[in-house]
């Protein structure tokens, strides 16, 4: 992009090009625009990290569910209704006081859509993808996360076949909370490994 070509011009060009392609494919009977609208609505409003939060909250509440989840994530997550495109094969990795897990896709943008929705831009960007595998502690600092020196960090590189979900540690002082309340504490970033669940209200 030259300096004369502003960000706005570039955005306008992209919009025009995408519009041209869509109108040609629709005209040729290869695409149904109403189906595009439905898909956009699904991924913009219905599928997102609240799904993954329910999986995590259930694992925190139900030791038997958690044990099965860590052994066979794909089918155990599907029990809650979360499966399909870009989540065909799932692995759940558990954080403990000794091990912290972190997820990346160094080659592109692989991410577990059924449980987390579409990935944020930083996850798909060169700085995160290049650096998290050689300097995970430095990357975590940029997210405001610092781990004790003794904690082992494991970085999982996703691929077209396999997607990872981090099972964060249950926050202290949440013993009396039910699954619904626990799910409210689970953040998207805590399931990627670049954050922690929220602390219990008032703490």
């Amino acid at each position: 992009m030259s300096s004369k070509h502003s960000h706005e011009d570039h955005q306008r060009d992209m919009a025009l090009r995408v519009k041209a392609i869509e109108s040609l494919l629709v005209e040729k009977g290869l695409l149904d625009p109403a189906a595009i609208d439905k898909l956009i609505d699904l991924y913009e409003h219905k599928i997102g990290p609240r799904n993954g939060a329910k999986v995590v909250a259930k694992a925190w509440s139900d030791p038997e569910y958690k044990e099965r989840l860590l052994k066979d994530a794909t089918s155990v997550i599907a029990e809650l209704g979360y499966s399909g495109i870009q989540g065909e094969e799932m692995v759940v990795v558990e954080n403990t006081p000794a091990v912290h897990n972190l997820v990346v896709c160094t080659l592109c943008s692989c991410y577990p859509w059924p449980t987390l929705g579409l990935p944020p831009n930083w996850y798909k960007s060169a700085p995160y993808r290049s650096r998290v595998v050689i300097d995970p502690r430095g990357v975590l600092k940029e997210f405001g996360v610092e781990l004790p020196d003794g904690v082992e960090i494991r970085v999982w590189d996703s691929n077209a076949e396999l997607r990872y979900l981090v099972l964060p540690m249950r926050p202290a002082g949440t013993e009396g909370m039910n699954e619904g309340q626990l799910a409210e504490l689970v953040t998207r970033d805590s399931m990627i490994g670049v954050g922690f669940p929220k602390a219990r209200k008032g703490e």
């Binding site: 392609i21 898909l39 993808r129």
Partner: protein
């Protein structure tokens, strides 16, 4: 192939740009390219490996300087041209028509 997309371990890519409250899409054209990709993929017009290969054929400088969904646009165009659904001429003339407001 050790292409530009193989970013793991590369140096000098700068700080991570974290948006505290980030929308799912940043522009309407991102929504449309996303929907088109899923439909074309689900309809069997190309498979995920062909699509990814399309992204990986971008020129390295362009790959690094463009927005994420531009990668998808690049790959969708390549796949549609490869299977005969679209030609460059068609895209160019439709863009001109749309810019003039007569399509």
């Amino acid at each position: 192939m050790n292409g530009i997309h193989d970013l793991g371990g590369r140096h000098g890519m700068g700080p991570i740009n974290i948006e505290p409250i980030e929308p799912v899409f940043h522009a309407e054209w991102e929504r449309r390219i996303f929907g088109m990709f899923i439909l074309a993929f689900a309809g069997g017009h190309f498979n995920i490996d062909q699509f990814r290969h399309g992204v990986e054929q971008m020129a390295p400088a362009e790959y690094l300087s463009s927005d994420y969904y531009e990668h998808w646009l690049h790959a969708l165009e390549l796949c549609c041209k490869a299977n005969g659904s679209l030609t460059d001429d068609e895209i160019q003339s439709r863009m001109k028509e749309l810019a003039r407001g007569d399509a």
